[in-house]
């Protein structure tokens, strides 16, 4: 019997189709992995930007409070609310306790899930800063 070479769509019994589908599956799995990794890094960067926003809010208010304290021996404890900081409502609170000549000021800023607290103590008799503590952990 004469050998007739196979031609047409099913010439390879579907092997090309199978390997193409397999290859595409592997490629899409890898794409999912890459996408997940990229998503994680975007989340990290987003959370970090919120932390930076809250840091600068707390820090600038603390510097303002220190400036007031050195010049007028008093601190503006009016809480601030900012309508939109990186898509979130932000709040800044200032508290001051006076013990003998040492004033301890706690400034806390919250943006979304991020918050930052700056606590400092200032001795008014010696005009010296006693402590300055930065923290991204909420105060107790």
């Amino acid at each position: 019997m004469e050998h007739i070479p196979q031609t047409g769509v099913n010439a390879d019994h579907g092997h090309v189709l199978l390997s193409t589908v397999g290859f595409l599956t592997v490629v899409s799995l890898i794409l999912v992995l890459l996408g997940t990794a990229a998503d994680y890094s975007f989340q990290i960067i987003y959370m970090q930007s919120l932390a930076t926003e809250s840091y600068w809010l707390a820090k600038s208010q603390a510097v303002y409070a220190l400036s007031e304290l050195t010049k007028h021996s008093t601190v503006d404890t009016q809480p601030l609310t900012l309508a939109n900081v990186a898509g979130h409502e932000a709040s800044v609170t200032t508290q001051m306790t006076l013990q003998k000549a040492t004033a301890t000021v706690t400034v806390s800023a919250a943006v979304g899930t991020a918050r930052h607290t700056v606590t400092f103590s200032y001795n008014e008799n010696t005009s010296a800063l006693v402590t300055w503590v930065d923290s991204d952990v909420p105060p107790q």
């Binding site: 592997v26 890898i30 890094s41 800063l129 402590t131």
Partner: protein, 139 residues
């Protein structure tokens, strides 16, 4: 014979695509890992710098005196670890896989570039409270 060549070519192309993806994934993973290490390092280090009243820099070390009198020194040891050593005892590792650090003072701000082994350059900036006091006192 032609189909054999075509198959070989196809396999080569597939292999190249997979290899590229693999390299890209590894590069991304390494980058993200370093980013996380960098964030953790900056968190501790910048909090120290913020409460510093005295800053002493050399080419590759940083020495800080905090407002409460605590003194810390930072440098990269031979194991590629960025260490923070407290004067009088107490060493902690701030980051691993570090090649070198280059601290500088720019307009009262401490700017430190941290070069990691995988080539990632992390620029850390923090202002010591000493600079704020100088500004407030108008000196």
């Amino acid at each position: 014979m032609l189909s054999l060549w075509l198959t070989a070519l196809l396999l080569l192309a597939m292999g190249e695509v997979l290899l590229t993806f693999w390299k890209g994934y590894n590069a991304l993973e390494s980058r993200v890992d370093t980013e996380v290490v960098g964030i953790a390092m900056e968190r501790t280090w910048s909090q120290d710098i913020h409460s510093s009243v005295v800053v002493n820099l050399s080419a590759s070390t940083v020495a800080l005196t905090l407002v409460d009198g605590t003194q810390f020194r930072y440098w990269v040891n031979t194991d590629g670890q960025l260490v923070r050593v407290q004067n009088g005892g107490g060493t902690s590792v701030l980051a691993v896989g570090v090649k070198s650090i280059r601290p500088q003072l720019q307009n009262g701000e401490l700017v430190c570039s941290v070069l990691f082994d995988n080539g990632v350059l992390d620029l850390m900036e923090a202002t010591p409270v000493a600079s704020i006091l100088t500004l407030l006192n108008g000196k």
